[in-house]
């Protein structure tokens, strides 16, 4: 048993103090990071509740329910930023990446406190796989939302489509790592490989813009 709220407070307080000394994009980055951590906690509450009412095992919950809840929770602030503040594309990507990183950081902190950090190998896998997975799924979501906004068409279908992509990517990762052996190795490699592909696409898109 860990007290997730206390951990969140412990990590968040220095970051909140930092906000007073930051400006523009650095401030947005830290706010999004904090928001990502908060969302991780709220997602855990919701998933816990759903797990209780559905009588599913913790493994089933992590495979079937967590991806849907977590991706939905990460989408909401991004949609809010997009439609209320109407920021530039770069700001959307910045917020998305920081949200994902905050979410992954808090999840990793809680996980490590529960499971221990004796094995460097496992800790590295945890960081490289789950950490990168949340960032990549947020990048996919942000890319979809930016494109939808740029063309101002079919927004609901586009948002749902982009959301479905990030949900399935997340669910596929959770499903693969749940099975020891070859599937888990592929699962651990999946976020990094996708990050590589996303990096190439991202570079090409920004080059086209120049």
């Amino acid at each position: 048993m860990i007290y997730a709220e206390n951990i969140l407070l412990c990590i968040a307080v220095p970051l909140v103090v930092t906000l007073g000394f930051l400006k523009s994009s650095a401030r947005r980055l830290v706010i999004s990071f904090l928001l990502g951590m908060g969302l991780c906690l709220i997602s855990a509450y919701i998933t816990g509740y759903l797990s209780l009412i559905s009588n599913l095992s913790s493994e089933d919950v992590s495979i079937y329910l967590s991806p849907v809840v977590e991706e939905l929770m990460k989408l909401l602030p991004l949609l809010f930023v997009l439609y209320v503040f109407n920021p530039a594309d770069d700001t959307v990507f910045l917020c998305a990446v920081a949200l994902g990183a905050g979410f992954a950081t808090f999840e990793n902190c809680c996980y490590i406190l529960t499971a221990g950090v004796e094995s460097l190998y496992y800790t590295l896998i945890r960081g490289l796989a789950v950490g990168v997975m949340h960032v990549v799924s947020m990048l996919v979501l942000a890319l979809g939302l930016v494109l939808i906004r740029r063309f101002r068409v079919v927004s609901l279908a586009g948002v749902m489509g982009a959301l479905s992509l990030s949900m399935t990517f997340h669910a596929l990762y959770n499903l693969m790592v749940s099975q020891p052996g070859v599937f888990s190795y592929i699962g651990y490699a999946l976020p990094l490989a996708t990050a590589g592909v996303m990096y190439i696409i991202f570079r090409q898109l920004t080059d086209d813009k120049k």
């Binding site: 991806p67 079919v154 279908a157 586009g158 489509g161 479905s164 992509l165 399935t168 669910a171």
Partner: protein, 263 residues
Amino acid sequence: MTYKWVAVICNLLQIAALIVICIKTYRLIERGKKYLPTILFLFGMIALMLSELYWLVHGLIRPDFRFPYSSSEVSQDGGLLLLAAALVALLGRSREKLTLATLGAIAFTLVNIALWILWSGEWFKDIFDGIIFMYYLCVVTRSLCRTGAFRRREWVCLVIGGTILITGEALWTFVPESLQLTIDIGNFVFMFSILLFLYAKILYNLRRGDTPLRSLCLAYAGFTWSLLSMYMSSEPMYFASFCSSTAMAVLMYIALERVVTQE
């Protein structure tokens, strides 16, 4: 070879085909003149590919566990929405609110939803999937009307064929087992006759080459019909419809390529 392994092979073939389509569509973004429909089509195909990949991995890792609405369904629904969005982006929004064809598409989907619920008993999944499928079918039907893909006589034949098929499927559920095989054979004849007719129309239009948008709409219709056939069939006919959906996805890409490079 058991049905399980046939399913795995069909899945792998479809995933491979969809990966190739995704790569080629990505390259098409640079070559083509219509950026938005191409990118929506690409996202739609990625969603369908992820759906199949999830289904394959789930079947291998947890073959005995069925979750009513998993990420495979989420992704397929997302894929259909994105493909519909690509078609809307190509054709522009329709000003007509409700046409006879749209009403027909809605009625057809409603009966299908009722049948899905009857067969599977998964209310939430079937209704949610059904609503998205209804939107997709309405977009496809409108596009077929707007591009004049079918003649009046062909529309009449399709409506009659669809009605007989739906009635046959509903009858199958209620008749005694001794009659089910006969009705099944009749249903498959109708189902695959319509599919063959759609293949003929798509290939004819693609070969003529002067109406790429019409070919694309027909390929969308073929893909939709393949999906419906899949939902209505059990093994081994299910695999035929499954392979047909793969072939239709390829035809959709070929038609899209012509639309964005020629028009």
